[in-house]
Structure formats: C-alpha cells, structure tokens
C-alpha cells in the first residue's frame, strides 16, 4: 500500500504548482473579467463602481464605438506579420544553411535585443525615425520624401516598430523548422531535375511550413493586442484596440467597456487563428 500510493500521486503533485498558478492568475481573473464585462455603473456611485446587470449590450456598444481601432489593429498586425516574415525567412534560411561556424553567434544576435527592455528599444526607434535621426534627413536629401513629411506619428512608424519588435518571434521558429530539414532532401530535389527556385517552392518551403505557421502566430497574436508601439511611435490617428483598452482601464476607468473589448479581441484572434491553422493544414506535416 505504502509503496504504491506515492506512485499514483506523483504526476498530480508535479502538475499542482502549474495548475494552481494558472488557476489563481489566469482562470480567476478571466472569470472576474467576464463578470465585469456585463456590468453597468451604479447610478450616483463613484467612478469605477459598477453593478452586475448582465448588460450584454456593452459588447455591441463597445464594438461599434471602436470598430475603427479594431480594424486598424488587425491591419497593422497583418502588415507587421508579413514584413517580419519577409525579413525573417531569408535570415533564418541563411542561419540554418549557410552560416557554418557563425551559426551560434548569429542566433545569439537574433535574441540579443531581449537583453534590453522592450520599452527602451521602442523609444529608441522614435529617435531613429525622428527629425534628428539619420533616416528622415537621408530620405529627404534623396528626394524620396517631402521636406515637411515625417515618419513618427504615422502608421509607417507603428508598423515598422511592431515589425522590429516581433522579428525574433518570427525568426526563431522559422530557424528551428528550416534547421530540421535534411539537406539531402534538398540535394535529392536537385538530383531529380528541380532547379533552385523549384526546389525552394516544392521542397524547402513546404517543409518549413510548420515554422511559418508558428512564427506568424507568435507575431500576429501579440501584435494584434499591442499598444506600446502605437503609443510611443504613433498619434491619435494610429490608435489600436490595445490603446483603447488601456485608456478605458486606467484613464477613463470604464471597466465594463474595457473588459468587453478585451473579450471581443480575444474571440476575434481565436477565430482568425483557428481559420488560419485549418487553412495551413499543419497537422499533416508533423
């Protein structure tokens, strides 16, 4: 009896800290958030004092009021994901196949930005893209940009910042899946009359698809909910849904709307991601 008891309990004991942590810091707040999302302010109460009235109209009102910011969030996140993929794929490909002994150094360089704070790096981008940085004067001198046009406070700056900030999340999964490809399958493709472009299209790209899916999800999901880039590099005209939620919580202190917006964002991302994974059909590749 005594010998068999610990045997059964060990897996549960190992799971317990994780489950407890998730329950206290994820499940409970989510339930709380769900309750808050259908509350309405108490008549005559202080700011932030709400009562449960099951006002599901909060969702409709919040969405209609902020549909522009919702749309912008998904457009910006999609653009940042596309740009990050375009930059990260050749980078990951070079690291996986062409870097030789520099492979580890290059991988460290990919994650090196994480050694400094996300916030600081975004503020640095404000400098880089600002009037005193080298980008704007150079473009103006080359007559590629009007003398009065700026980059900061535009959607260009926000998307650029997001692309930069999420690049490692795109690069690492891409690298991992490219690195797993047996170089002999690429040689076999050449041996079977496929030139370099056909080999990439028919062999390398399909085999790296799990990395493409993982990388785009790891970029798109946080990018859609991001508000730091829009807050630091953008203007009121580039506000994303994250900025709205942030200001509803901390400035306007309108908890029910903020909660309803959070849930709407979560649901929208969940639906998009599910559709995307279905379409990509990655389960066949595992």
């Amino acid at each position: 009896m005594r010998a068999s008891l610990p045997k059964i309990k060990t897996p549960y004991l190992l799971l317990f800290p994780g489950f407890a942590f998730l329950f206290i810091f994820f499940i409970l707040p989510i339930i709380n958030l769900a309750q808050t999302s259908t509350q309405t302010p108490i008549a005559g109460g202080d700011t932030g004092q709400n009562e449960q009235t099951f006002a599901f109209s909060n969702y409709i009102n919040a969405f209609i009021e902020n549909r522009e910011q919702f749309g912008r969030s998904f457009v910006y996140a999609t653009l940042a994901t596309i740009f990050a993929l375009a930059i990260a794929y050749p980078l990951a490909y070079a690291i996986a196949f062409k870097s030789g002994k520099f492979k580890n150094i290059l991988l460290v360089l990919v994650v090196a930005p994480f050694f400094t704070s996300f916030l600081l790096r975004t503020i640095a981008w404000k400098q880089i893209l600002g009037e005193e940085g080298f980008v704007v004067p150079t473009l103006r001198n080359l007559n590629l940009m009007g003398q009065s046009t700026t980059i900061t406070s535009t959607s260009v700056a926000v998307v650029a910042g997001m692309t930069y900030n999420f690049l490692p999340f795109m690069t690492l999964p891409l690298y991992a899946s490219l690195e797993r490809i047996d170089p002999r399958t690429i040689e076999a493709s050449g041996d079977l009359y496929a030139n370099a472009i056909t080999t990439f299209r028919r062999v390398t790209l399909p085999l790296s698809l799990p990395g493409v899916v993982a990388g785009t999800l790891l970029t798109f999901i946080p990018a859609a909910g991001d508000y730091v880039n829009a807050a630091i590099l953008g203007s009121p005209n580039t506000k994303m849904i994250g900025n709205v939620i942030e200001s509803r919580y901390f400035k306007i202190v309108d908890y029910p709307t903020a909660a309803a917006l959070s849930f709407t964002l979560m649901a929208a991302i969940l639906i998009l991601v599910t559709l995307y994974i279905r379409r990509a059909g990655t389960e066949e590749l595992v």
Partner: protein, 381 residues
C-alpha cells in the same frame, strides 16, 4: 555545337580527378571508366573518397582538377538538375511532405513528362509496392523506403544510377534480400548502376566490376573473383575477405613457378601471381585454401610443417582453426566439415598444405596490417 547534357548517354569517364578541401585531399588523381550497362561498385573504408567521387558524378561537388564525361559530353561543371543521373541517397532522402506517388513522380513532373501515372504505377509494380502509393514516407518501413528511393530514381530512366550505401540502414536479412533484388532490377531495367559501399560482401554479391578505393586512390579494379583470387596489395587482400600473409624470399625459378623460401621451408607459386618488385615478398593464401592433415601424411602441393593447433571454432558447415607456426605467426584455416574426419584438437601438431596456384605474392615492403583495422560496421560520415 552544344549538346543538352540531359540527353547524354554512354560510358562514364573520370579523367584525372582530384578533389581537395583545403589541406585535405579526398580524391587523388583518379581515372576511371565505367562501361554503359554495368553494375559497378566503389568499395572502400570510410574516408577513402568513394562518396566524394560519387557526389562529383552526381554534380553535388565539383572536382578541383580533372574532368567527367558521359559518352562524349563533358559534364564536369553541369548542375545536378541538368545531368541525366539520379541518386539513391544513403538515408533515402524521400520528401516527407509528399505521398509515395508524388515522391516518385517528382522527377517526371520537373521534366514535364506526360504519362506520369502510367510510369509511376509501372515502377511501383517493379518494386512490388503498388499498394503504398498514397502513403507518406514516414508510414513505411526501412526496406520499403529503400525500394521507393530506388523507384524514384529509376522511373526517370537515367543514363546512370548512383547508389550511396543504399542498404546501410537495413538489417542483415533484409540487406541480403535487397542485394539480390537490386541485381535483378539492374538487369531488368538495363541501366548503368554505380554503387558505393564499405561492405565487401555487398559489393561482391552485386557488382560486375569492383574498384577498391583507399586514401583517395583506386587500389585495384576487377571482377569480384579476380580481386579475391589475386589481390595486388595487402589492403585489397585484407579488405576483401581474410588473408594469411607470410613473409618470404624469392629463391629462384622453376619453369612457370617461383620458388619461395618461407622461414626455411620451400614452396612454389606461379610467376604471374607475384606482384613483388624485388626478391622480398609476402606469400598470401586465403584461409579456405589451406588443408590440415596429421603430421607425416602424404599430401601434394605446398606444405608447411611444425604448426600446432592453437584454437578450434566449430561453426557447423566449417571449422575455423588458428594454427601457430614455428616462426611465431598464427595462420587462419577454414576447413569444410564434409569428410566426416573428426576435427583436430587444440595442441595437436599438424601439416598445412595447399595448391601452389592459390598462392598470391605481394611486395615485401607492404604494410600487412593495411585494410585490417577497418571496422566494416562503420558508416561513412
């Protein structure tokens, strides 16, 4: 006139090929002609340059010096996809994301061939796996993957089929079976097969001609029987089967034969089978060519006296003896158990005899350990 290399046919000719990686020379001034339609094996231990040679023929490496011709067409710098050459890779390198059908159809589709389905079905029947067309490679066993890799290559009817250690990943029983099948398929399709292996048994079973490679050079080339029967170097004598190499001196001639002095005992061997360059030589005798009889019995041919049985291993069809000779050397003797004579016992003094014609002579300055320390299980790279 420039000819599209993809249509080239004929003998494969390597002319003075050298491949160096920095200081290291993988292939050293190698020349070789492989006749159209033959089953040719490049045999050697890991790092002997056989795989590098194969990769240069496939176009995956470019020779540092030298040229490669297929028939009259120079293909030395032709890209792999422009050569009429297909490869069966060591670990098959099947495309994991494609079905078996699409794996085999890959080469046909790239060349825009029309009757893909018909051709794929035909080759799947040839390798006896038509029912697996819609599976993915990971759902197949090693032996099945091996056949699909072969089918994927031969469906293109290349001028030349390269096989890089094709059976290395299979277990012994399956390997034996595939050796016979490969040989049969080669005859069936009539293509030139160039087979790279470290396994001497595999090379001898399948190939018409074997080139034994060592340190980037060809040691000796010939039919399996010729290489086994009359090896020219200690490396070949030891790498292909086992050999007893006894140090001796040429002590004169007697008609077509040489008289050899082996530690004071005289033996005879044909002049034509000696590769010695002066009077010192190693007399080589394969273990199964020796006969053991009791001391004092009357036997013809060459004899060596004074041996004592050191070890006896009875293995059914034969008995393997280790015989210690007076000069301190131990000789291997394989005796067929076909005459009902009870095996000799440890410690018995015996007479060793053999036919003079079975003796081969190696240069006296050879390293008689060459080709022995190679572990045949070791895979290239």
């Amino acid at each position: 006139m420039s000819v599209d290399p993809i249509t080239a046919r004929g003998d494969l000719r390597l002319t003075r090929i050298t491949k160096s990686y920095g200081e290291f020379t993988a292939v050293n001034d190698l020349s070789l002609t492989i006749p159209k339609g033959s089953f040719f094996a490049l045999l050697g231990p890991s790092g002997c340059g056989k795989t590098t040679t194969l990769r240069m023929v496939a176009g995956l490496e470019e020779p540092t010096v030298g040229s490669i011709h297929l028939g009259e067409t120079d293909i030395t710098t032709t890209r792999p996809y422009q050569r009429p050459i297909n490869t069966v890779f060591q670990n098959y390198a099947l495309f994991p994301h494609l079905t078996i059908f699409e794996n085999i159809a890959f080469g046909l589709r790239r060349r825009g061939i029309k009757d893909v389905k018909e051709r794929v079905d035909k080759v799947l029947t040839l390798v006896e796996l038509p029912h697996l067309a819609q599976r993915k490679p990971t759902q197949l066993s090693g032996g099945q993957q091996q056949r699909i890799a072969l089918a994927r290559a031969i469906v293109n009817r290349p001028a030349l089929l390269l096989l890089d250690e094709p059976l290395g990943a299979l277990d012994l029983k399956l390997r034996r079976q595939m050796q016979i099948e490969l040989k049969w398929i080669q005859r069936e399709v009539g293509l030139t097969f160039v087979h790279v292996t470290h396994d001497q048994e595999e090379a001898m079973t399948m190939a018409d001609t074997i080139a034994v490679m060592n340190e980037g050079k060809i040691e000796q080339m010939g039919t399996p029987a010729a290489l086994y029967d009359d090896p020219e170097t200690a490396f070949v004598a030891n790498f292909l089967g086992q050999s007893n190499l006894i140090k001796g001196k040429i002590d004169g001639a007697d008609g077509e034969n040489l008289v050899i002095d082996l530690y004071g005992q005289k033996i005879a061997m044909p002049k034509s089978r000696s590769h010695a360059i002066d009077t010192s030589l190693y007399a080589g005798i394969r273990p199964e060519k020796f006969r053991i009889t009791r001391t004092g019995s009357q036997v013809g041919g060459n004899t060596l006296t004074g041996g004592h049985i050191e070890d006896v291993s009875y293995i059914g069809v034969s008995t393997q003896y280790v015989v210690a000779m007076p000069w301190g050397q131990e000789l291997m003797v394989f005796e067929q158990n076909d005459d009902g004579v009870p095996p000799f016992n440890k410690g018995e003094e015996v007479l060793i005899s053999w036919e003079p014609n079975f003796t081969f002579g190696l240069r006296g300055d050879e390293d008689i350990e060459a080709g022995m320390e190679v572990n045949p299980q070791e895979l290239e790279e």
